[in-house]
């Protein structure tokens, strides 16, 4: 147990019964605060510390007992030592020795910086470290006429994943997931062909560079039209992904294509966090021309950890054709 000493002594020039006190300025949360006092000749001293955690109404008492010679000791129990602090005053019999009920001495109580950060991070997710998440999306670039034939250019994507807030800084989160991305898009000859992959698996590490600045790195393996392929995804984000934030990132999937995006999310409308995303991408095939997707997301978190969301957007590779994107998502935190 880490002890924090408070020396209380009677100085040579002090009269008997007076208390000299050097209060601590800070204490460690969850650890009892031991007070070691030195009293004068008064063997019958009734020095008492009256204490309470900040925000608590009732005062508690702890009595000083003699340890040796003039040294007396009292202990404030661990359950009263909690952030942001505690306050106390000393009473010697009927006399105030230091502070008073209306003017108590305040001691800041800290936790280790990483523990405090974990507390804040957990508070943001209401103590729920785990999440399952599913997102489905339909993306249509519009049918374009090639050699007098209308050729579709669309795909759908399903992402399902599980994440866990590890909070072992700088590693904040682990995430495992699966993606299915299947579509139809014109090839070089103007014929429609199937693109994408049936199943890809991925593993993502979320690094909290500093509190509120996040870097997510993902490794992807997929069985594409051309066989085994690797992919990766990285995102840098300021703020909480479920609330107000800005993020930018890149995703690359061999054979399937690459995507770059910027996203601004805002949670300033109660119960309806929203986001705007601007995305440049050649999905579902790396052979296709790069297009742009303009996306708008809205979600609603329910009590209990359920969160549902919807997405609408516009996708086009040029001005000759464009189409609608739409998606639905849900997550459950526990």
């Amino acid at each position: 147990m880490k002890s924090l000493l408070i020396l209380i002594a009677i100085g040579a020039s002090a009269h008997a019964g007076t208390v000299r006190h050097v209060p601590p300025s800070e204490a460690t949360a969850g650890e009892p605060l031991q007070l070691i006092a030195q009293l004068g000749d008064n063997a019958d001293s009734a020095l008492v510390v009256r204490y309470r955690a900040l925000g608590v109404r009732a005062w508690s008492n702890a009595t000083f007992t003699r340890r040796e010679d003039r040294e007396w000791i009292a202990e404030i129990p661990a359950d009263a030592i909690a952030p942001p602090g505690l306050e106390y005053f000393l009473v010697d019999g009927d006399h105030a020795a230091l502070g008073s009920e209306s003017w108590p001495v305040e001691v800041a109580v800290h936790r280790a910086p990483e523990a405090e950060r974990a507390d804040r991070d957990l508070a943001r997710v209401l103590g729920r470290r785990s999440r399952v998440h599913v997102m489905t999306e339909w993306i249509d670039y519009g049918a374009r006429t090639i050699h007098d034939r209308a050729v579709d250019d669309h795909y759908y994507r399903v992402d399902a994943d599980f994440s866990y807030a590890l909070l072992a800084y700088p590693l904040e989160q682990l995430r495992f997931g699966y993606t299915r991305l299947v579509g139809t898009t014109p090839d070089d000859g103007g014929l429609a062909h199937e693109a994408g992959f049936k199943v890809a698996g991925w593993f993502e590490l979320g690094f909290g560079i500093v509190e509120g600045v996040r870097f997510d790195a993902r490794g992807i393996v997929a069985a594409t039209q051309g066989g085994f392929a690797l992919g990766t995804r990285a995102e840098v984000r300021l703020g909480d992904a479920d609330r107000t934030h800005v993020a930018t990132g890149l995703e690359y999937l061999a054979d399937v294509g690459a995507t770059g995006y910027f996203r601004l999310g805002w949670a300033t409308v109660p119960g309806a966090p929203m986001a705007v995303t601007i995305e440049g991408t050649d999905l579902p095939s790396s052979d296709r021309a790069t297009g742009v997707r303009l996306l708008y997301d809205i979600a609603h978190p329910f009590e209990g950890g359920l969160r549902v969301g919807a997405r609408v957007g516009y996708a086009a590779r040029d001005q000759s054709a464009g189409g609608i994107s739409a998606g639905l998502g849900a997550s459950f935190d526990f």
């Binding site: 100085g11 601590p24 800070e26 804040r120 509120g212 910027f262 300033t268 790069t290």
Partner: protein
């Protein structure tokens, strides 16, 4: 009763002061270290006789609240030459620095002692009972007479630290300010270079870190074998600040002195402090840490996540604009030259260095773009079309003074008639983006062309927004350069809603010009 008692004590003090026979003069001239006093031999001056100097000072009695003419001893010297009407005194360097024209000079004149009449109330009648506050302040006041300036200040500061809630505290503070001003005039204060104060060190458990914006309570305790200082000041400042602020420590019991660093200065990277204590004699010294080596308390910067947690920082803007460069062109033929665009975006004001981030969508359509070309069925006006999204970050230069200076960078990605294209826009702004500001913008977007403008925005009335812009562009087809002059008005209907309208004139030549208009709506929440 209280006031009456104070008057009696004051009169008693005055009676004792008149017991000596003293010749008084005034310093009427000063030349380097020599001063001339309007006292001559006839007034009792003699070569080699001692002479003392005082500084008259006007104070307010804390109980009677009446003006009291008092004095502060400056020092003593010897008369160098006594004339009939003037006396010349050569001062040492230290005293010469303090004595000024107008100071009082006194010479003791030996005369036969004359019994002083007893005060009228000096009888056996028990003194009237007065309350502890009055008793305390009168006792301190009574000890002041003839004391040096530093001792008076220390005594009153000590009294204040234990009687901050006294009804006399305010008037004592006023007197203290007078005394301090006098001290600063006599000797400019240099904290930490004061006379050493034996046993002045205070014991203190210094905090190592603190929470942003939260006041830091501090307790200092006098040494076990040393008398408590007469008074002590806590000096504190934010790390990086040039000057310290100070607060008088309050006494708590026999040993403790307590103070508070206010939360308003408790910000990252931290605060630093020291304590200066005064002995009853007025001598001062650093009693815990020092100005050169203050104690430091670290304050962690608020996490970035918190910067995104605040509400009432969001704005959604939807605008639609139509510009015609040719509808005032009176020449024959088809001189179509117009553009129209609609944008919708969301701004979130983060604060700090990253003032704001914005993201939005836009659709741009245009045709023409040339000042002298006439279009026909065989040669129709070229068209431009661009659907795009954009993301913008506005950075603010770190400055404590002057108006804000921002730099905004916007990336644009979209698709035009020839496919995917990108653009960039840079904007420098001086002034508050939500109030009066001046901005310079330049933009280049694939397929469409370039655009630059100077824009002034103001809020001349609480609900009225005005924007004026002068721009140059070759849009919509990277054609001929043209000038655009636009004025925007907005009227804040509610705190969260502001419709806007825009009127513009634009032209690429004297013959080829037109008017345009636009409208929009701004939501703030």
């Amino acid at each position: 009763m209280r006031v009456g008692m104070a008057v009696l004590i004051t009169l008693a003090l005055a009676a004792r002061a008149r017991a000596d026979e003293i010749a008084r003069g005034v310093v009427i001239r000063k030349e380097d270290r020599a001063v001339y006093v309007n006292l001559g031999r006839a007034g009792g001056a003699a070569d080699g006789a001692p002479i003392r100097f005082k500084r008259p000072i006007a104070l307010v009695h804390p109980v009677t609240k009446k003006k009291v003419d008092d004095w502060i001893p400056l020092g003593q010297a010897t008369i160098a030459a006594a004339g009939d009407r003037l006396t010349r005194v050569v001062l040492d360097d230290e005293l010469a620095a303090e004595v000024n024209v107008g100071d009082v000079a006194e010479i003791y004149v030996t005369v036969a002692a004359t019994p002083t009449a007893a005060p009228a109330n000096a009888d056996d009648t028990p003194p009237p009972q007065i309350d502890p506050h009055t008793q305390s302040v009168l006792a301190t006041w009574a000890q002041q007479s003839g004391k040096p300036l530093a001792a008076r200040i220390a005594a009153w500061e000590g009294w204040l630290s234990g009687h901050a809630d006294s009804p006399y505290a305010e008037i004592v503070r006023t007197d203290l300010e007078t005394l301090r001003a006098e001290r600063d005039e006599l000797v400019p204060r240099r904290i930490g270079q004061a006379v050493a104060l034996p046993d002045a060190a205070l014991e203190h458990a210094a905090p190592t870190r603190a929470t942003d914006g939260r006041a830091i309570p501090l307790v200092f305790v006098a040494g076990a074998h040393a008398p408590a200082p007469a008074s002590a000041w806590l000096h504190y400042r934010a790390i990086g600040a040039r000057t310290f602020r100070r607060v008088l420590l309050a006494q708590d019991g026999d040993f403790a002195l307590r103070g508070l660093i206010p939360g308003e200065v408790v910000h990252a990277p931290g605060v630093e402090y020291f304590v200066e204590a005064s002995a009853p004699s007025g001598a001062t010294a650093a009693a815990f840490a020092s100005p050169d080596q203050p104690a430091k308390v670290e304050v962690a910067a608020p996490p970035v996540a918190d910067a995104f947690a605040a509400t009432h920082r969001s704005r959604m803007t939807i605008t639609s604009t139509y510009l015609d460069f040719g509808n005032l062109d009176k020449r024959t033929g088809d001189h179509t030259d117009r553009v129209a665009w609609t944008e919708a975006d969301v701004l979130y004001r983060v604060g700090r260095t990253l003032w704001g981030v914005r993201a939005g969508y836009g659709v741009y359509r245009g045709s023409g773009g040339y000042k002298d070309r006439a279009w026909s069925d065989a040669m129709p006006a070229p068209t431009a079309s661009f659907s795009y999204g954009y993301a913008e970050a506005e950075l603010r230069a770190p400055t404590d003074t002057g108006p804000p200076i921002d730099l905004a960078l916007r990336g644009v990605a979209g698709v035009g008639t020839s496919g995917f294209g990108m653009g960039i826009e840079a904007k420098a702004r001086v002034g508050d983006p939500d109030a009066t500001n001046l901005s310079f913008l330049i933009a280049s977007i694939a397929e469409i062309g370039t655009f630059g403008d100077v824009r002034f925005e103001a809020v001349p009335r609480p609900r009225l927004y005005v924007g004026m812009a002068i721009g140059v562009t070759d849009q919509p087809n990277e054609g001929d350069l043209g000038v655009r002059v636009a004025t925007d008005f907005g009227w804040r209907v509610t705190p969260w809603l502001m419709p806007t309208v825009r009127a513009s004139w634009q032209g690429r030549s004297a013959d080829h010009s037109g008017v345009g208009a636009g409208a929009g709506v701004v939501f703030d929440w």
